[in-house]
Symmetry: C2
């Protein structure tokens, strides 16, 4: 039985993206953003709204995007509910460690397992959408989330997802099938 729910932003899973920037004084800030996606093999698109983060990106032309993990769900949520505009010591309160990227003018938070270092390509503003488009110039990962070939093992990441329906964070489960493999039987006559 199908039910109509009306207008609901029903993409799931959503990522829990940690957007790292410096303000004009070089103070690190991190914002929690679920509305983001890869938009090309070397690009990320973020819908951020108006925040300290968007001001910082416009000024520095750079940002980092880290993947929040279950071990830091408290800090990740704090980065979503605290505003750097109203709380000058926002990042310091998190107890996390910011190290300047060697490639872009933005902070890497040491405790998160995986971070994209990005430069600002474009602030897209059309009649229907506002987005920050970033070029991924490098990714830094904790060695412990890599497989024996040096690639990220999604299960080892310990990533979390944002559930916009119930306003929760969820852990990730296990690999169940290979992409470009599970559907092969339906390809054959």
């Amino acid at each position: 039985m199908k039910k109509d729910l009306g207008v609901v932003p029903a993409v799931f899973p959503m990522p829990v993206l940690m957007i790292g920037t410096y303000d004009a004084d070089g103070v690190p800030d991190v914002m929690n953003a679920a509305w983001g996606t890869i938009c090309d093999m070397d690009k990320v698109a973020l819908c951020l709204g108006e925040h300290q983060t968007t001001k910082n990106i416009a000024q520095t032309g750079a940002f980092t995007v880290a993947i929040a993990d279950a071990a830091h769900v408290k800090e990740a949520d704090f980065f979503g509910i605290a505003s750097a505009g109203k709380m000058a010591d926002k990042f310091a309160r998190s107890g996390m460690t910011a190290v300047k990227s060697t490639r872009v003018n933005a902070p890497i938070v040491e405790e998160f397992p995986l971070t994209m270092e990005c430069t600002l390509l474009e602030q897209v503003r059309t009649e229907s959408v506002e987005m920050v488009i970033g070029k991924i110039v490098n990714v830094v990962a904790d060695e412990c989330v890599l497989d024996e070939k040096g690639k990220v093992d999604a299960e080892k990441l310990g990533a979390i997802s944002f559930d916009q329906f119930g306003k929760n964070y969820l852990t990730m489960g296990a690999k169940i099938a290979g992409a470009w493999k599970a559907g092969v039987p339906l390809m054959q006559d």
Copy 2:
């Protein structure tokens, strides 16, 4: 110990979105897309590239976005590896059931648990990005994925995620913390 991985599209989790459209003859098609996000409370942004789906959306001005679930990972993957341009019976081969939406000119696949019905707002093309922006006009859900208040229960959805690192699909785990709640202790002095 941090390792440099170079340029990697490192957003995780990515959703497994099933984009449903009709072609000029009214034949249903479904495409598998991981590069999509909510971009406003009533809007979805999809990076689809050039496919039968993008032609169909341009013609009909409508599409559906369903959330793939673990019970249909084989079909979801098939929708990603088969091309409607080369396989005239693509949708029929999936064995799934397409029913025309009563609100938009696009098919709803009965077997998927949650579907957004969308109209095309804009095809955004800038120097750095190409995106389809859709307006969510309604969401239809299987009763069995709703909680007692009639809202989607993310755990009941049985959704899957696309892992671009290892080219796998993963299940979702359990709720671990409330958003706007987990970080509250860090807000206090």
